[in-house]
Subunit: 208 residues, 3 copies
């Protein structure tokens, strides 16, 4: 039942990711088709890369093409209601945090189902949570936020370690799930609120 | 027979895509090996991504490595005759349009052969038609033209919808093929001629 | 026995690639998690892309997740000892050259084991040797060095042609291996020392 709930939250988070990607596209004045494509790639790219790397076919959107309607529809909705969306900024930041955490948990859960070793489970969770945003930033020609932003990747890895570690210790699945979800979400929201970030590595010599 | 003709057109379009990629490489003063690599990636990248996503192995160039000779040879030819190529600008824009439409049709035809649902067929066609150019733009460190240019992605999606939709309605295969080819090609050439473009989505608020 | 030695050299080269990627991350002031991720992607990305394209599963790091500890550990070590690393610049350039040559040989050897045709063997070697650095450059938002730098891709292709060609001619495996390793390494080091480069293709007309 908790996994069913997780699926509902996944669809909401997928739409939210697609909408933030559509806004990023709008900031670069892309045309409507470009907006829809960027939304689909951002929302579904992380899971696709994970499935390719783990040889887990069919990919989510190949097996359930209606997911393309969710991301594409969210992009079109964004274009229509864009002028009111700055009011919803806080809602979006919250949904984006939910997306990061839920995508990470779902991704690691798939790797667990494939009996992958622990490190691969962690990697699968992080890839699912973070790669969509990296693809968005590459296609917008930015240095991916992931490598700089407030605890984004860190939240993903901690969420996954709690979820996969708790499962490995034989704890109750639903409790572990809710605990991982809660910790990840709190960390991300507190990081946003207080501007927390990981220490930076600054190196000024050129190798050549 | 029409499919055989399509294969010939495919090889010509593949060479044309490789040549436009080689010119893009020349505009950034890449070295000869870089030119050849960029031409191969641009020409064969779209089909490779489609085949990876659909788990359709071997990839075209793995099964038919002589395709690498077509793209690599086209790149070398471009380096040799570059100083005369600006005279052929119109020929290239025409061949580039042919490439877009033919790649899109071939890509969707492969998904149809794999019994994929309609939305996946559309996606497969668009990926085949458009991803090569996206990879070229990313490797040249540009925002991909796809997200801005005159009807590029739109032409691909309309071509594929006609081709795959006509097939689904049970219409004669050859007629549907030629009709999709004609409509796509005309749209792209008219868009180039008259500067048609999709409406842009402009959004000026920052999310953070 | 030579292949066992090659595996040891591979692990050293993998750590070296991860460390140069970590330095590139430091030059862009990425945070610690970003540094570790970039190191893993750079070190293991080339082999992963090769395995995806050849449908060769599981990927190296999925089958042997301890490779993630090698690249991640090398990144953390780099952060700790960074202030002393400019003294080791020559060591790094040497290890980077070793990495290029060894990755290329190992990649082509895997394609040979899969009975791929000669052109695909060459491509597999080049992809393994070069794609990690291309991914690093894309994620740092640079035009990939590969398309410009001193004989980088050229060294990879020549190494692989010697290694795979010698094997095809039935020459002794160990001798061919050492000869390919030696020629590739010398070429790369001489190119670095004397600033050798391939001729550039310069094209100044715009297509549109």
């Amino acid at each position: 039942m908790t996994l069913y709930l997780l699926h509902i939250i996944y669809l909401v988070a997928l739409a939210a990711e697609a909408m933030t990607a559509a806004l990023a596209a709008g900031r670069r004045s892309m045309d409507w088709v470009g907006v829809i494509l960027l939304a689909c790639i951002t929302g579904l790219g992380g899971g696709s890369v994970r499935d390719l790397l783990l040889n887990h076919h069919p990919l989510s959107w190949v097996g359930s093409p209606e997911l393309l309607l969710v991301t594409g529809g969210a992009a079109i909705l964004t274009i229509i209601i864009a002028r009111h969306m700055y009011k919803l900024q806080r809602v979006f930041l919250f949904l984006d945090a939910v997306g990061l955490v839920v995508f990470s948990i779902i991704g690691s859960n798939i790797a667990i189902g494939l009996d992958q070793p622990f490190l691969v489970v962690i990697a699968a969770g992080m890839i699912t949570g973070c790669v969509g945003g990296v693809l968005r930033d590459i296609l917008c020609n930015d240095v991916p936020l992931l490598f700089r932003a407030e605890l984004y990747a860190t939240v993903s890895v901690i969420t996954v370690v709690i979820f996969a570690g708790g499962g490995r210790l034989g704890l109750d699945h639903n409790i572990v799930l809710l605990f991982a979800l809660g910790v990840g979400l709190c960390m991300r929201l507190l990081a946003l609120r207080f501007g927390w970030s990981m220490p930076k590595f600054v190196y000024k010599h050129d190798l050549h």
